[in-house]
């Protein structure tokens, strides 16, 4: 859902998105400048690589003629925390724009807002809310899946909202069709997102449950050494 240049026809909309994005990413950096330890930085690099690679792989969806790809915002947020994940997502989306013109330069703020900020913060909100309801590893995975699905659908709704704010688009296509198409198409894409997010977290929690704040498996058998050094 990378918005290209010229699609958001009202400059006030993309400038407004720029302002919000600069503000939120600036806040994220300020917040992380208090918490981020140097030894946690490599995991950020790893997540950036995973998100970038995952976004490359478009997969045909059930809907004829439509493909979707991983967003990765909630996956990053569960492993890095929402603010650190926001920074990682912003880097990935900015590089896609500047290196490949995947997403327009004028729409960069909007794209970071829709995919990098809303996805990480609201998706993470859904995840942590649900996690409180269902305990344990299974609960965590389900919560991450729902949060991941939500992050994609929310991102699509935000794109629709930004387009609807442009009066010429609104008068030409109408708000209903805009939302129905964008949100509707992203409901299955969100399922793909949930699938990849849960799959990746299932692998991670197998060996490093501590990364998600889960207790390691009862150390009766073999494990126990690995995760103790923190």
């Amino acid at each position: 859902m990378h918005i290209p240049d010229g699609l958001i026809s009202d400059p006030r909309v993309w400038i407004g998105a720029d302002v919000v994005t600069v503000g939120v990413v600036g806040y994220a950096i300020r917040r992380e400048s208090r918490d981020l330890k140097p030894e946690r930085v490599p995991l950020m690099g790893l997540m950036a690589a995973f998100v970038f690679a995952g976004q490359l792989l478009n997969v045909p969806m059930g809907v004829p003629g439509v493909s979707g790809h991983l967003l990765g915002a909630v996956l990053a947020a569960t492993l890095l925390g929402p603010w650190r994940a926001t920074i990682v997502m912003a880097v990935v989306i900015a590089v896609q724009c500047l290196l490949y013109n995947d997403g327009g330069l004028t729409a960069l703020g909007a794209n970071i807002l829709n995919m990098g900020i809303a996805g990480t913060l609201a998706g993470f909100g859904v995840y942590s809310g649900l996690r409180r309801l269902v305990a344990g590893r299974a609960g965590t995975l389900v919560a991450a899946g729902v949060g991941a699905w939500f992050s994609v659908v929310l991102g699509a709704a935000l794109v629709a909202g930004q387009l609807a704010l442009c009066s010429d688009i609104l008068s030409r296509v109408g708000v209903g069709r805009l939302f129905a198409l964008l949100v509707g198409l992203h409901i299955p894409i969100g399922l793909l997102e949930a699938l990849i997010t849960v799959g990746a977290l299932a692998v991670v929690t197998q060996s490093r449950p501590d990364l998600l704040g889960l207790r390691p498996k009862p150390a009766a058998s073999e494990a126990g050494e690995g995760a103790t050094a923190s």
């Binding site: 859902m1 990378h2 290209p4 240049d5 010229g6 699609l7 950096i29 992380e32 400048s33 208090r34 918490d35 981020l36 330890k37 140097p38 946690r40 930085v41 490599p42 950020m44 690099g45 950036a48 690589a49 970038f52 690679a53 995952g54 490359l56 792989l57 478009n58 997969v59 045909p60 809907v63 003629g65 439509v66 493909s67 979707g68 790809h69 920074i87 990682v88 990935v92 590089v95 896609q96 724009c97 500047l98 290196l99 490949y100 013109n101 995947d102 327009g104 330069l105 004028t106 794109v159 688009i169 030409r172 296509v173 069709r177 805009l178 198409l181 964008l182 198409l185 992203h186 894409i189």
Partner: protein, 108 residues
């Protein structure tokens, strides 16, 4: 992990990115599909990208051009993230709880 281990990891990841870009579906994504169906169009690009649409200029084979572009991008993304992460981590004020280093001057 040793620095050599990290470099090996990034090289493998870059190759994986290149392959993923090659096997990716060429079908339009959700937003492109919406634009097509509603008759909405993108405008001129506001900036010139060095590798527009995941193609490396000067590489004749389209498949090689895609592979190189995606692999390069992965390395760029990782490097920028690590640099920004380190810069942010450096902003963190030292706290007394930091591995027993207290009242210490600057780290080497």
């Amino acid at each position: 992990m040793r620095p050599l281990g990290w470099i090996a990891l990034v090289v493998v990841a870059a190759a994986v990115a290149g392959v993923l870009a090659l096997i990716a579906s060429p079908l339009p994504d959700g937003l492109d599909t919406t634009m097509e169906r509603l008759g909405l169009h993108a405008g001129e690009s506001a900036a010139k990208a060095p590798m527009p649409d995941y193609a490396t200029p000067g590489v004749r084979s389209p498949r090689a051009a895609t592979f190189v572009a995606a692999a390069t991008g992965l390395v760029v993304v990782v490097l920028i993230t690590l640099v920004i992460g380190r810069l942010i981590a450096r902003l963190r004020p030292p706290t007394p709880t930091d591995d027993g280093k207290r009242g210490g001057g600057s780290a080497p």
